[in-house]
Symmetry: C2
Subunit: 194 residues, 2 copies
């Protein structure tokens, strides 16, 4: 399974491709940061990000795309730009029929370091160790993109199994309810026949 | 000048095309609301909005796109979805080389009703009057999209003139500074020659 992780942003957008092997083995395929000029029109910046992501989808052919879920926390203006960038990334994937999953920063930190409150340095350190990188991915957005891809590779099978279990439970509950209704109907018919 | 106004949103995305004539005359060309199912994946919803906007750009061939600028105010979750929808709309326009301008809700209200704090009913009423509509555009997102297009038609010439005036003023200031520097240099050279 190959995943493209994206840390969306207008000024810096981190892109990282990771292959998942047996067990928890992971291998870095590519990592980079796309930049768009802060003085350009918003729509032109979004086009720059969209074009870059499309090139990566063509070149690396990932089977899924993992995007960081944005929260309006500190700076609302920045958060809006980040959300817009994440939107065009999700669109590029949807146009190719690829599944897109959004992961929160704490899900990513927890998946990679074991703690949802790990700091940037811990995340970068674990990403380097897990992928056997000798050079620190720079800037932090590049390391975050790789961490997102790893998070997706490790969380997705669990998420799918959970969804399947939930669907099975719903099916069982539905059948049980149908049997109850049938039994009640039969009891009523027998009562009327007596 | 023909403008596509877009009131972005995942659940309801308002689209309105308006032609501007001489003076302040405006004419409605088309108006509709695109809906995407709330239980669909975010990326699939964004694709639905993107496809609809691309169809409108192909069919109506506007010369500019006006999008409502989103603020994270009441509901952060909704605001993020709205920002992402706005992002894919801006992208569709940028792909065709069309200018995209974002207007705040108060700019739109002020342009259409004269007051930045007008309520929905006032905006809808003025949109109907300005465009000579006998039936109220429904839902409100449709009227908002028309209001955005009108706002753009009326504000844009002023914005362009203002930008030109600022550029001229900057040019004059630059030339003045250069003349001052030249005069200072000449005075220094003459002083040294004495």
């Amino acid at each position: 399974m190959r995943v493209l992780g994206v840390d969306p942003g207008l000024t810096r957008c981190g892109l990282g491709v990771v292959d998942g092997g047996t067990g928890r083995t992971v291998r870095a395929v590519a990592v980079d940061v796309v930049r768009t000029p802060p003085d350009a029109d918003l729509s032109v910046r979004l086009l720059g990000i969209s074009d870059a992501v499309e090139r990566w989808l063509d070149r690396y052919k990932p089977e899924a795309v993992a995007v960081e879920r944005v929260f309006a926390q500190h700076n609302v203006r920045t958060a809006m730009g980040t959300a817009q960038a994440g939107g065009v990334v999700a669109l590029a994937a949807a146009k190719r029929g690829l599944p897109v999953v959004f992961h929160t920063p704490s899900e990513v930190k927890a998946a990679v370091t074991g703690s949802g409150r790990a700091d940037k340095a811990q995340v970068t350190g674990m990403v380097m160790r897990l992928l056997g990188l000798e050079v620190k991915p720079h800037p932090a957005d590049a390391a975050d993109a790789l961490a997102l891809a790893i998070c997706h590779l490790w969380r997705e099978p669990m998420r799918v199994r959970l969804a399947e279990a939930e669907a099975r439970a719903a099916e069982i509950a539905k059948n049980h309810k149908a049997r109850l209704a049938a039994a009640a109907k039969q009891a009523k018919t027998q009562g009327a026949a007596r």
